[in-house]
């Protein structure tokens, strides 16, 4: 895993991202974004015996019920319907883009090697990208042509290796498996493989980084040759999201038992097989002709070059040595367009939230008024204009990607920022009328540029903030041990909205770096975790967001925009910098 965290700003070293946060970072947390938000209604709507809500999207991104190939109508409230095939592009869209052609090799790149190839351990994004093409889960998110990263459909779980699931009761879920699925080694997928994989992910060892997502699970068993039963210890609103998360992958039991782990081999059920891999150089994937979705994938294969350096990535894209570049900032785009005027660019919002975290165990940040004063001094529009070249929007509390669950900026407390008078008054009340000096630890890849603008803005209220530039590993240690007063960092979203809020702000949470949160918030989060009624749950999380906005544990930065660029012959590409959604590239085809 090539962590580029060096302080050098040389063009060769800089992990040149449009914002401080690199794609890899965002991705590697297992960012599942708004997924949970959108699935929860499904679960909630179906007390007993539910089925998956099957939807496809129109181009506008709105959802509409889709006819399934097996004739079942995929209504979320159906009692035991039959979900059909996973939704793909609607016919009208495919016509617009031309009929997919088979064949060709896509040339693509990753900034670094995955640490190893085991599907159940790491959440590193480079690993997720590759394995997303080679494995399947029981469910997957409905990303595909027309369902871009910000669409609700893209955050909706659809069948993958499971054709349907039932919740027998609040604590019991039964998944029915697709028939006739084969692993890359030719063996059949069985319920045993599924149960074994899910249990392996739950292994209580730090190597298994996703184990925490299944803490409420009591047992996973293969109850019949083609069904798997999951029993919970307590109601768990986020279970389906975690199952649909791309890293909940199904691997063959016999291979793991034979080899001990899957660090060196890829044996999945996915659209592509690993043909060869030279570490640090390239990975070659080839089409899995036995893939269970008929007629896909379209590509013969994918050549993935390992390219750590940004300028060589850009050069390779400009010279057609690679077909996709992601993500680009606006100045890179200008150059790209000069060289290749016909590139196709998609703009989208990244999934994270950047901000300055306050250490509440350090004076003066134990005083909520001081934190509020800092918030009032932040002019998000200025950050958008200066750092994001105008491409961005205001946001607070949770990333905008939890579509449907996010309280609009204007409706949150203290949305009248910037307000220097109020900020000064708050500081005076707290006893810091003359301001104070403080250091803000930062690292190049996480919102350092935003923090630099913030430091200028804080001067207006007499706060003298010095930005301390750190090496990545040292930064992580400082952040994880709470060795900071202020810290400029990035918050990556996790599957469910509860996952994001609880992981960062729960008083005992593993990602609560600055002693954030309090008993009030804990009580709310606990309620949200157990509440299966979607409207009530939304109301709870609205309160959570208001509390976050008001107590200012983290001073939020605005949301920026990123751009993905592809050459015009690449069709069916979907912008998504979160491979955790399992973007398998099965839908990409080449028109040349």
């Amino acid at each position: 895993m090539g962590v580029v965290g060096h302080q050098t700003k040389s063009p060769s070293m800089g992990d040149e991202r449009p914002r401080g946060l690199s794609r890899r970072d965002l991705l590697q947390r297992g960012a599942l974004l708004g997924a949970g938000a959108l699935v929860a209604p499904l679960i909630a709507a179906c007390g007993g015996g539910s089925t998956l809500g099957l939807t496809t999207t129109s181009e506008s991104g709105g959802t509409q019920p889709a006819a399934t190939s097996e004739g079942g109508s995929g209504s979320a409230s159906g009692t035991s319907g039959t979900p059909g095939t996973s939704a793909s592009a609607s016919p009208s869209e495919q016509q617009a883009a031309g009929q997919p052609k088979k064949g060709g090799t896509l040339k693509w790149y990753l900034p670094d090697d995955p640490p190893d190839l085991d599907p159940h351990m790491q959440t590193t994004s480079s690993l997720q990208w590759v394995l997303g093409m080679c494995y399947n889960g029981l469910l997957r998110y409905n990303v595909g042509p027309g369902n871009g990263p910000e669409s609700e459909a893209a955050a909706t779980p659809v069948p993958d290796l499971a054709t349907k699931y039932e919740n027998v009761d609040e604590l019991t879920y039964v998944f029915h498996l697709r028939q006739g699925v084969k692993f890359h080694d030719g063996t059949d997928l069985t319920a045993e493989d599924v149960a074994y994989s899910l249990n392996r992910i739950r292994t209580d060892s730090p190597e298994f980084q996703r184990a925490y997502a299944f803490t409420p699970v009591d047992s996973v068993e293969a109850t019949t040759p083609d069904s798997v039963t999951i029993k919970l210890k307590e109601p768990y609103a986020a279970l389906i999201n975690e199952i649909a998360a791309a890293y909940t992958r199904i691997a063959p039991k016999h291979v793991i038992e034979e080899k001990g782990d899957m660090k060196q081999v890829v044996v999945g059920t996915g659209p592509f097989k690993l043909k060869s891999y030279q570490r640090g150089q390239q990975m070659v994937l080839e089409r899995n002709d036995a893939y269970f979705e008929p007629d896909t994938p379209y590509l013969d294969g994918i050549e993935i070059a390992i390219m750590p350096d940004n300028s060589s990535q850009l050069a390779a894209f400009n010279s057609h040595a690679i077909d996709i570049y992601q993500p680009a900032n606006s100045s890179q785009l200008d150059t790209m367009k000069k060289v290749n005027p016909d590139i196709v660019v998609t703009e989208y919002a990244p999934m994270g939230l950047n901000g300055i975290g306050c250490n509440t165990q350090v004076k003066p940040f134990d005083d909520v008024r001081v934190r509020q004063a800092l918030w009032y001094a932040i002019d998000q529009q200025k950050i958008i204009d200066i750092v994001y070249a105008g491409h961005g929007s205001k946001q607070r509390a949770v990333p905008a990607t939890y579509a449907g669950w996010v309280v609009p900026y204007d409706q949150l407390p203290m949305s009248d920022a910037p307000n220097i008078d109020k900020a000064k008054a708050l500081l005076k009340e707290a006893g810091y009328a003359d301001g104070f000096k403080v250091k803000c630890k930062s690292v190049y890849r996480y919102s350092q540029k935003e923090a630099t603008v913030a430091a200028q803005l804080f001067k207006a209220i007499g706060v003298d903030m010095e930005i301390v530039d750190m090496e990545y590993g040292a930064f992580l240690t400082a952040r994880n041990t709470g060795d900071f007063d202020l810290i400029a960092f990035a918050l990556a979203p996790f599957g469910d909205i509860s996952d994001f809020t609880a992981a960062l702000y729960g008083t005992t949470a593993s990602r609560n770096y600055g002693h954030w949160g309090d008993a009030d918030l804990d009580a709310l989060l606990e309620k949200g975790d157990k509440e299966l009624d979607v409207d009530k749950r939304k109301a709870i999380y609205a309160d959570v967001q208001k509390m976050l906005a008001e107590r200012c544990w983290v001073i939020d930065f605005p949301e920026d925009k990123l751009f993905d660029a592809v050459h015009p012959y690449v069709k069916g590409f979907v912008s998504a910098q979160n491979p955790e959604r399992g973007l398998g590239f099965w839908h990409i085809w080449l028109d040349k």
Binding site: Y109, G280, P308, S312, Y472, G473, N480, A492
Partner: protein
């Protein structure tokens, strides 16, 4: 002579031993350890403790060093903490890439530096001299990674050409291989030639002022023989010292160039090992770099004898 070489080689062993201790301690003293990097966002101390145990990092550093040393003397440099691959295997893949880069760069540097430096001196204060001096000053001033970035960006913008994205061994496909090594060797070699060019020039001027040159001229030696036999050979002695001393820079100094030009060499491997705190890999890489540096120093010293009979006699 033989005893001298043997003595030098024997001296390498304690040096390596000392370096291994220093490196072992230093890489563990950098803030931010491997466990933090592996766990990334989780600050759970229990998980960290468990992982530290799994990796064998919970033992006292002295014990860890002892274990490492015990394996190292048996030729086992350990496995990478991240990839679990053999550390020696990773090096055996990376080293040839760096060596090839170093050799081609040295070649480019020598081909540029020696003739141009010589011409510059022979035609002192005339146009070719000025030109060579401008070229060498430019080479000295431009950082090689910046030159590398330009060399990769500009052809892509102007001609939509970029070097191959995947490394191919010179034995598998020499053309593809040279296509990939051309630009990085040029960016490294140019900067390197600049120093050597200037040195070559000043040394030649120095030699030309010597009495024996005047004597040689006086006895009517042809200018070609004068230059080749008397001037060049004597001027080269310090130049070779400097080149030898600088050759080791290719091992560490190629880090950025390998990164930019996607060469899976030792520099890139070392940078990665530092960034993710892969202690066994880093330890082994530095040891290899130290060994090569010591051998290079030895070779440089030996080459004096060959070039300069005065040293040979002493």
């Amino acid at each position: 002579m033989r005893t001298y070489v043997l003595r030098r080689i024997t001296l390498i062993i304690p040096t390596i031993f000392l370096v291994s201790i220093v490196v072992f301690a230093l890489i563990r003293a950098i803030p931010g350890d491997v466990v933090t990097l592996m766990l990334q966002d989780s600050k759970d101390p229990q998980q960290a403790e468990q992982l530290r145990q799994q990796l064998g990092l919970d033992k006292p550093v002295v014990i860890q060093y002892g274990i490492w040393l015990e394996h190292a003397v048996q030729g086992d440099l350990g496995t990478s903490l991240w990839t679990k691959n053999s550390v020696a295997g990773e090096i055996s893949r990376a080293l040839p890439v760096t060596l090839e880069l170093a050799i081609i760069s040295m070649l480019i540097a020598s081909l540029l530096a020696i003739p141009f430096g010589l011409i510059s001196a022979l035609m002192q204060n005339r146009f070719p001299d000025y030109l060579v001096r401008v070229i060498s000053i430019t080479g000295l001033s431009i950082p090689n990674f910046w030159l590398g970035t330009l060399l990769i960006m500009l052809p892509a913008i102007w001609f939509r050409w970029s070097p191959p994205t995947t490394y191919v061994s010179i034995f598998a496909d020499p053309v593809q291989n040279l296509k990939q090594f051309m630009l990085p060797s040029l960016s490294l070699g140019y900067g390197f030639s600049a120093i050597t060019m200037r040195l070559m020039r000043s040394e030649t001027l120095e030699v030309m002022r010597q009495d024996y040159i005047r004597t040689a001229q006086a006895k009517g030696l042809a200018s070609r023989a004068l230059v080749m036999r008397h001037i060049l050979r004597n001027a080269l002695i310090p130049v070779i010292t400097v080149m030898g001393a600088q050759a080791r820079l290719f091992l560490g100094g190629a880090v950025l160039i390998e990164q930019i030009f996607l060469l899976p060499g030792l520099g890139r491997l070392t940078l990665w090992a530092i960034q993710v705190r892969d202690y066994p890999q880093l330890q082994a890489n530095i040891l290899i770099i130290v060994i090569i540096t010591l051998l290079l120093n030895l070779l440089t010293d030996l080459s004096y004898g060959w070039l300069d009979p005065r040293v040979r006699l002493a």
